[in-house]
């Protein structure tokens, strides 16, 4: 993770102590596509290539890594040349999120996920334990979200960001860059599940989304309609199943 040292006063019970603490880095990341700045994301300035790929993909502006012809990153400026699926015209709507980076173009059509992938409740809990162990940024700063991609056995990719959505865009972008399919993968996230998170997973054709946290009603409705298995509050031997439970096998570890 990308952290910054700061000097703070730490108060604990009656003790006041001056000490160096770590906080998460936040920077405005400018995304320029074909010469036009389309967004400035407040993000943690690591994995910017993955962020840019995942962001454009989640927005529905590109369909595959090959749609990006060139990318150059200079400091916090990302410049991309791309053959876009559609024009990013200025009168398109910006939909901003509950708690998330959340620039989503309205009017997209969500596909329907068709997948025979199944996972056991035991595997869910084991994966979330491993996910928790990997979250070093959260442990040191308390200020970042994480996202991971898993096959049923292990966590294949893991990213952190001050932005719940940025972390998700980063792992999706990472898979895009590697030309790997997400159709048989699982998304793990530390953050709350809002509609935009569901949209990102469905667009990437990920059949199962697991969070340590809670979903909103709209996220549940969208997941139900689009065939996504939504799992929440997955921690400490507890799991809530919200939608498409046909992909879940019940085995609980002792």
């Amino acid at each position: 993770m990308s952290n910054q040292e700061v000097v703070i006063l730490k108060i604990r019970d009656a003790e006041v102590e001056k000490r160096v603490d770590l906080v998460a880095k936040e920077e405005p990341i400018s995304i320029k596509v074909n010469g036009k700045r389309i967004a400035t994301l407040m993000a943690t300035p690591i994995d910017l290539r993955e962020l840019a790929y995942g962001f454009l993909y989640s927005l529905g502006l590109i369909k595959q890594a090959e749609d990006i012809l060139s990318i150059s990153i200079s400091g916090s400026e990302v410049e991309i040349t791309a053959g876009l699926i559609k024009d990013f015209s200025s009168d398109e709507e910006v939909l901003t999120s509950g708690c998330g980076k959340g620039v989503v173009i309205l009017g997209y059509l969500l596909g329907k996920i068709d997948s025979n992938l199944v996972i056991s409740t035991e595997a869910i809990l084991l994966l979330m334990d491993e996910f928790q162990l990997k979250s070093t940024g959260y442990k040191t700063t308390g200020g970042v979200h994480s996202a991971g991609i898993s096959d049923l056995l292990q966590i294949l990719d893991f990213k952190e960001d001050i932005g719940r959505h940025n972390a998700i865009d980063k792992v999706i972008g990472s898979f895009l860059l590697q030309r790997l399919s997400l159709k048989d993968k699982i998304m793990l996230t530390s953050g709350r599940i809002t509609s935009e998170v569901v949209v990102k997973c469905v667009r990437a054709e990920i059949p199962i989304l697991i969070s340590r946290s809670s979903p909103t009603d709209m996220a549940i409705t969208l997941a139900e309609q689009s065939g996504l298995t939504l799992v929440g509050f997955a921690r400490k031997k507890r799991i809530n199943l919200y939608t498409h439970t046909e992909r879940i096998i019940y085995i609980i570890p002792k």
Copy 2:
């Protein structure tokens, strides 16, 4: 809070139970100003008037409640007629946040907070205890953020939303609507402190910002520069002081 009942499968240890659970509501709220849709916020559909006032104010589009000449709310559509400070032209930049609703116009000038307000560490902890007790939405759904405005003694206003930033905009909007100054008030928030949260407080001339959670480095830098007292991790007899500690008096409750 605005909650929705959903039927879920709850797994705990080896038990699988079908039950009704509560989740936070999320809805796209369309904000139209002078006939033009300027944003669609994913938000919890309560206190929409406060949300609209606070949102426009935090964006720097209005300076006072009187700048809004009329507002009509129909379902999730908010229509506003306003004398704007500046035109919301389409080529302005959209800066989207780490984890937050986060449409912020770049290039704003942040003022400098000049305030003699002081608060004791004891008062901080007592207020955050009260703030925690008020967070019923979080307790029932685990999926919302809360924001509160306090004088030094009590919590005067309290709002919840799936969006960290929406909750803050709602309490700011509420004060705007009541024509009450925030210059001698304190902002309480459950969420992480990113640059945009600092910007919202400084714009509203709130001198002290207290969060249960952590700040980013950019939030700390902005708070330092603009004269905002930034307090983080305020819970369970612990407090971290990041900036402008001249407004803090050290008294720790036994």
